[in-house]
Amino acid sequence: MTAPLIVGVGPAGIRAAQTLVAAGLRPQVVDEAPASGGQIYRQPLQPDGRSAQALYGSEAGKAVDLHRTFDGVLGKIDYYPNALLWNLRDGQADLAIAGRAKRIAYDGLILATGATDRILPVPGWTLPGVYTLGGSQVALKAQGCAIGRKVVFCGTGPLLYLVAWQYWKAGVTVAAVLDTAPASAKLALVRGLTLAPAIVLRGLKFGFDLKRAGVPIYSGVEALRFGGTARVEGISWRAGGREHHLLCDGIGYGLSLRPETQVADLAGCAFRFSARDRAFVPQKDAAGRSSVAGVYLAGDGAGIAGADAAERAGERAALALLQDRAFPVDTARCAALESDLAKIEKIRDMLEAAFPFPAHWAATLPDDLTLCRCEDVSVGSVRQAVQAFGLTEMNRLKAVTRTGMGRCQGRMCGAAVAEVLAGACGREVAAVGRLRGQAPVKPVPLTLEAAE
């Protein structure tokens, strides 16, 4: 029998692998990264002497446990690190490993592909020195370097305060934290104290530590602009009815996350619009079964729910796969995982209320702003195309304007394009649809050669 394939070794993928191994299966596991951990528990590229505590802070225990768990199953799985899964079809997955093509057969697929940062363009967002929040964190975690000497973090979402705090802890000057959410939104956190005290207190501690260290924190930030000529030199914004400017040499920016759904799309999964994520996500049931038999979804890739949820969803999805193959499964454990996940969903609702996406921005973006940076398409040219052709749908917009047609295939600009299109044609963002995923999931070399 062909073994199941797990895509992604973040918390979801690791727990899925562990669960399948415990049942006596030998899963195949693929990840583009060189080591396990996914985004949150990403490991340094080279051991550099930093402790787990230094790297993962309050989450060090979970990180160590997950890394150990994965190391523990290494002999019992077929693991392909540094391997991009770029296409799949009919039980065959195509990988690119160091310029070589490799095809593996699978029976059963657990997608734990995680998330990437979500952004809306703002003036100056393409200047060197501007990073996403996640990217800023990757630089720190994996490479042990900072994106600047004097850094501003802006946007919204739990990562905003976390990454700012991690930079401050690492000794980098954090010049300011600019939260686009109004201060009143943070009341949701206070209300959420009973729901998830540990999470809320941890978040509040980040803010408190930063404040105590003298880092100015602004809420309700509007009209963000990143300035500079050859690279970023400063940032301007409006808050509390006043204009503000600050010099800096690095900016971390992001508006929460977006699920990485390309592979699910290629696998034929049906999608639904998630009002909370303001994005189309692959449909799944409480156990993680997708609309396609034998394809299971876990973690942020199926809807942003965070690392703790990802661990549970990974285990639950693996158990679902086992159930569907008539393995004996601890049903009480399944029920407990599902009830945990349902509870975490409520926490996510609370966090989303505390860090709302500034959907009203899209209408205020200036026409000359670059929207799709791969193909160099401006906000104005999208609006014009909508006017000229009466466009109301993402793939038609892509056909006419090239948005989402470049190297990133809309993975970076897609969310913003949907917002601008929806605004320009006067529809809800749910109504403009989504860019259909196409292989290759990421660019592959033309000379990609077959491996034996």
Binding site: L266, E375, R396, V400, G406, R407, P440, L446, T447
Partner: protein, 400 residues
């Protein structure tokens, strides 16, 4: 939209065949409703490779292709944009002596059609197109061919038709057509009932069932040409490249991406859809890197396929139905309709208005797929269309 509507001409399918016909008909003052089950230009016409070439077509297509070439040069005036149309020339390469002999034979056959083909051997080829890798025996260059951006052209034609007064219904599938005493009645999935004197069946790969429903089984299969596109690269390919034998075809767009086609996609469970096969895509990529050394370090950023109707003799089906007066077919362009369909629209408009076209289309008559028997006598389609019908009795392409 539900309700009722009455027009001179109803067009099923808003690809380039249908939308260019709609535009041409409006130019003649004829009322038109254009229907597409999805978005106009979102199928083959909008997702194809973008080759605007006459070179390589069978001689019987060349008069129609010449007609279309005229439309391409008037594009901006017609549809308001240039569609990134470039007369870059089309260079067909030969990898072997046998391929070269085939190119020479072709040049001989079509010498009377004004393609002005320039044959060149390996040395001349290398001198003129140094970016082509070694190993080519020679090539044939057609200076007046070129390429364009299908996504723009296929969107702009229906938009221009709409501006010219055509009623364009997108996401409005035609689910049934019948012919009654007072003309055709079309029914849409949105509960619109449309009466029309003439119906154009330009439904692309989906056209056969409409013919079939009028007792006219026509052999239409489906093909799924497969494409890859590279990241933007510095200017390199200044012509549209084809290859004898069809290993790949390639062009570079103004933005810098190289669009490279070849192979066929894999059809999905729903045959309306297909996906590039990984092996096919890699075959195209590897060949491109071999034939064009500058691509050796490039990345492919995207693959795609499209759904196209194909006929057994590789010629399209264009002309009056052999069973049903007032029904005109234009489909089955077999992977080569992008260049030709803008001209087909003009021809279709002439068929509607005059019953015949000065452009020879006999070779494309649906009758060629019909077992020999006497043609159906054209009946009347209602008062307003009598004129058309009478004219159509002497029309070109009607079986004799």
């Amino acid at each position: 939209m539900s309700g009722r509507l009455s027009v001179d001409v109803a067009i099923i399918g808003g690809g380039l065949a249908g939308s260019s016909a709609a535009l041409a008909l409006r130019g003649m003052g004829i009322s038109v409703a254009l229907f597409d089950k999805g978005f106009c230009g979102a199928q083959a016409s909008g997702v194809n490779y973008g080759g605007v070439r006459r070179q390589g077509r069978p001689p019987e297509q060349l008069p129609l292709a010449a007609r279309a070439a005229g439309v391409w040069t008037r594009l901006r005036g017609l549809i308001g944009i240039d569609g990134e149309y470039e007369r870059s020339g089309h260079l067909k390469l030969a990898q072997t002596e046998a391929d070269m002999a085939a190119l020479e034979a072709y040049a001989e056959t079509v010498s009377g059609y004004g393609l002005d083909l320039q044959l060149m051997g390996g040395a001349a080829l290398r001198k003129r197109f140094p970016w082509i890798g070694d190993g080519m025996v020679g090539g044939s260059y057609c200076p007046s061919d070129g390429h364009a951006n299908p996504r723009l052209v296929a969107t702009a034609f229906p938009a221009a038709a709409r501006r010219a007064g055509a009623q364009v219904f997108e996401q409005t599938a035609v689910v049934g057509v019948t012919r009654q005493a007072d003309g055709f009645w079309l029914e849409t999935a949105t509960n619109l009932r449309v009466r029309a004197g003439i119906v154009l069946n330009t439904a692309g790969a989906w056209a056969a069932p409409f013919a079939e429903s009028f007792g006219e089984p026509l052999p239409l299969s489906r093909i799924y040409p497969s494409m890859i596109v590279t990241e933007p690269l510095p200017p390199l390919m200044d012509v549209n490249i084809g290859m004898e034998g069809g290993a790949i075809y390639a062009r570079q767009v103004a933005r810098g991406n190289c669009v490279i086609g070849g192979e066929r996609g894999l059809v999905l469970a729903d045959p309306d859809f297909s996906r590039p096969s990984s092996d096919g895509a890699r075959a195209i990529m590897n060949r491109a890197a071999r034939f064009f050394p500058a691509l050796q370090h490039a990345h492919a950023i995207r693959f795609w396929t499209g759904t196209e109707g194909a006929t057994p003799d590789k010629n399209p089906i264009i002309g009056f139905s052999t069973t049903t007066p007032g029904l005109i077919h234009a489909f089955g362009f077999t992977g080569a309709g992008f260049q030709i369909t803008p001209g087909v629209g003009e021809v279709l408009a002439e068929l509607v208005r005059d019953g015949h076209s000065p452009t020879p289309i006999t070779a494309f008559s649906p009758a060629r797929f019909r077992p020999a028997r006497s043609p159906a006598s054209p009946g009347l389609t209602g008062a307003q269309d009598q004129n058309n019908q009478q004219k159509s009795e002497q029309r070109e392409g009607f079986p004799s």
